[in-house]
């Protein structure tokens, strides 16, 4: 699997007169596990939305390896192999768990807008969906409407949908938010397993998770990167301690 590198060059985003992202330049190496941290309102989710094409950038460039993403609609970015999850669970709530995963597989398996294939007869596709179901431990909930799953189960489903299409760059927006300690541990183990060998960028508030999982940590404060580096360096960084970690400790 060839994981791509993600490059951001002087990315800016304004909502009206307010500049939310104020010139972010960031390189995420191929196959790296990169954590994005920062206080509330720092612009972490906005940055995700810019990378994944949910919002257009005001200025600057986003590139996956050599391909510019900042002019593309979200579905095209997704087809290039960059996939994301949402902070607020985003699933197809009236479809079954199995159908959710199968929908997430369809495009990457080349079905496009086909109205001639019968889904139930696509053996390889259905087996892949069943395997995903096992990967996220929801086999027992296979035929339940996704909207009726518990919160943690919905989060797991969302991660399953995010990795389903075989994306090589994964963006996870607070995957463990709102989970209990045991649920968080299970989720982190699952993320570690499912994103192996892929480029991972995640927003996370739980510092244990961040320092446990990430190869590199970037700290975003008021729309600007104040530090970026390996966990040990970030922990020792004075500016970070003042702006963020210190504030939490206090």
């Amino acid at each position: 699997m060839n994981a791509p590198a993600l490059h951001l060059r002087d990315v800016r985003k304004s909502f009206g007169p307010t500049e939310v992202i104020r010139g972010v330049t960031l390189d995420i190496a191929a196959g790296e596990r990169h954590a994005l941290i920062g206080p509330n309102g720092a612009g972490k989710t906005t940055l995700f939305n810019l990378i994944s094409g949910r919002f257009p950038v005001t200025s600057g460039q986003v590139a996956l390896d050599d391909t510019r993403l900042d002019t593309m609609p979200p579905h095209r970015i997704n087809r290039l192999g960059l996939s994301r999850s949402f902070q607020i669970t985003s699933i197809f709530h009236r479809l079954s768990v199995f159908e959710n995963l199968r929908c997430a597989l369809l495009w990457s398996r080349g079905y496009r807008y086909s109205f001639w294939h019968t889904l139930t007869r696509q053996t390889a596709l259905n087996e892949a969906a069943e395997r995903l179901l096992e990967d996220i431990d929801l086999t027992a909930r296979r035929d339940i409407q996704a909207g009726l799953l518990s919160y943690a189960e919905q989060r797991a489903l969302e991660i399953g949908m995010t990795i389903a299409g075989g994306a090589t760059a994964i963006l996870l927006d607070e995957p463990t938010a709102g989970m209990s300690n045991t649920e968080t541990e299970a989720a982190i183990a699952m993320i570690r397993r499912l994103t192996d060998g892929k480029t991972l960028l995640m927003v996370e508030h739980d510092m244990r998770v961040v320092f446990d999982l990430a190869d590199t940590i970037t700290v975003l404060v008021y729309g600007q990167v104040i530090a970026s580096g390996p966990p040990a360096a970030i922990r020792a960084n004075r500016a970070v301690q003042e702006a963020y970690l210190g504030a939490e400790a206090a």
Binding site: H75, S90, R94, W116, G165
Partner: protein
């Protein structure tokens, strides 16, 4: 006991798989058999003549089933509220009328509905491209505009639409593939049955394809669909265009059956009817619009003979369904599924009967009020005398009004009480079933 459970499972599962095709096909076969014998049940065997009115009504039901199902491809499957669906139905009808009038007719009669479908598809591809650029309210507003545009065009462009008198035609201009003489209403009816079956099978098939499933996905979560690689606008555009294909087939059947197409066939009330049929029947399941189409057509044909104010009843039925049972008739039936399977339907018999009594009182009161009002404003001017269910009250005296109003109001209070009791029983039953269900 728990140890014994796993063993019979494989065989049970295999049996379930074996039974699945039969179970899936059964409702189709049943519907087809009913459709085939229906006209013969109303035949007058002493004179050897068919009941033309009933045969025509059943044919109308067939077209409306196609129309309502094609509407539900938007409403139920894709979550798109369209107000212009009749445009594609009517356009298919006009095209077939013109094809029939261009003697010699190149397309055999049996294939003309398909030609209507292709025309509907062409037009829905054009308008669908415009409408599916937007979502939700904006989408609905664009479709409303398209509907208005079509009605204006139908009146303005006399050459194609024939103005208010419409386009008349003669289905016998076309040759039959199988040498059938379509002068007879029964032959037309069976042609409608055949095309209704084909169209319904086609739409059923579409639900199980990647496009059909992604239409559901875009309905549930437009944004998520983008982040699994799909362009929701393209999904909706194709779905919209295909629904126009099936609406056009329905319109083609209309043209063949009635040999006249007027702007009523593209008009907003017919678009509204699609919504009515789909919603009253139930947008959440495939069979819902079928039930709705049959019911609404029966009301239109039957009730309109009995009452001038039949539209009031249809409107009230719509309001009641949307407020009380948004899942439609099919949804209500489906909710009873687990109860029937558990063999507990009998538990509901008494509560249902207890609701039926005040229900009938409310209905009677309502019918008297509506009919007396209708008579006082229209009927009396026409010089008719008032009589209803064997009663002939004096519409100009206060007493009949007071009685009807009092009965209606008291019935509603009573019905609400019985309703609460009913739902208490219902909830008990459901909790009991959920507790008994194996995990």
């Amino acid at each position: 006991m728990t140890a014994a459970v796993p063993r019979p499972r494989p065989t049970a599962m295999r049996a379930a798989t074996r039974n699945r095709p039969i179970r899936a096909v059964a409702p189709w076969i049943a519907m087809l058999l009913i459709a085939l014998v229906l006209p013969w049940l109303f035949r007058d065997y002493t004179t050897g003549r068919d009941n033309g009115f009933m045969t025509a009504m059943f044919g109308q039901m067939g077209m409306m089933i196609v129309f309502a199902l094609s509407y539900n491809m938007l409403m139920g499957e894709a979550g798109l509220l369209s107000f212009c669906h009749a445009v594609f139905f009517g356009f298919g009808g006009y095209c077939v009328a013109h094809l029939l009038n261009a003697v010699p007719v190149v397309v055999p009669l049996e294939l003309l509905p398909l030609a209507g479908g292709v025309c509907g598809l062409g037009l829905s591809a054009v308008f669908g491209g415009m409408a599916t650029k937007q979502r939700t309210t904006a989408f609905a507003m664009i479709t409303f505009g398209i509907g208005e545009l079509a009605v204006t065009a139908a009146i303005m462009f006399q050459h194609f639409f024939g103005g208010e008198s419409g386009i008349t035609t003669d289905r016998q201009n076309a040759a039959s593939l199988f040498g059938v003489n379509y002068a007879h209403g029964l032959a037309v009816y069976y042609l409608i049955v055949a095309w209704t079956l084909i169209a319904a099978l086609g739409m059923f098939y579409l639900r199980g394809t990647p496009l059909g499933r992604m239409a559901n996905a875009c309905r549930d979560n437009y944004e998520r669909a983008q982040f699994v690689g799909y362009d929701p606008r393209m999904v909706r555009f194709i779905q919209f265009a295909l629904s126009g294909l099936f609406a056009g087939i329905g319109g083609g059947l209309y043209s063949i059956a009635y040999e006249i197409v007027t702007y009523d066939a593209v008009n907003a009330p017919l678009s509204g009817n699609a919504l009515l049929m789909a919603f009253i029947g139930g947008v959440g399941s495939f069979g819902g619009p079928v039930i709705g189409a049959i019911l609404i057509t029966a009301l239109q044909s039957g009730l309109s003979l009995m009452s001038n104010s039949w539209l009031v009843y249809v409107g009230l039925l719509f309001i009641v369904m949307v407020t009380v049972a948004p899942t439609g008739i099919a949804g209500i039936l489906r909710a009873h599924g687990p109860i029937v399977r558990a063999g507990r339907l009998g538990t509901l018999a008494i509560p249902y009967l207890r609701m039926a009594v005040p229900g009938l009182i409310v209905l009677t009161g309502l019918v008297f009020l509506v009919e007396m009002l209708s008579f006082a404003t229209i009927g009396a001017a026409e010089g008719k005398t008032f009589s209803l269910f064997g009663f002939a009250p004096n519409v100009y005296a206060p007493m009949p009004w007071i009685v009807a109003l009092a009965g209606f109001a008291a019935g509603i209070v009573w019905l609400r009480l019985e309703g609460q009791r009913f739902f208490a029983v219902w909830d008990d039953l459901m909790t009991g079933l959920a507790a008994a269900a194996p995990r």
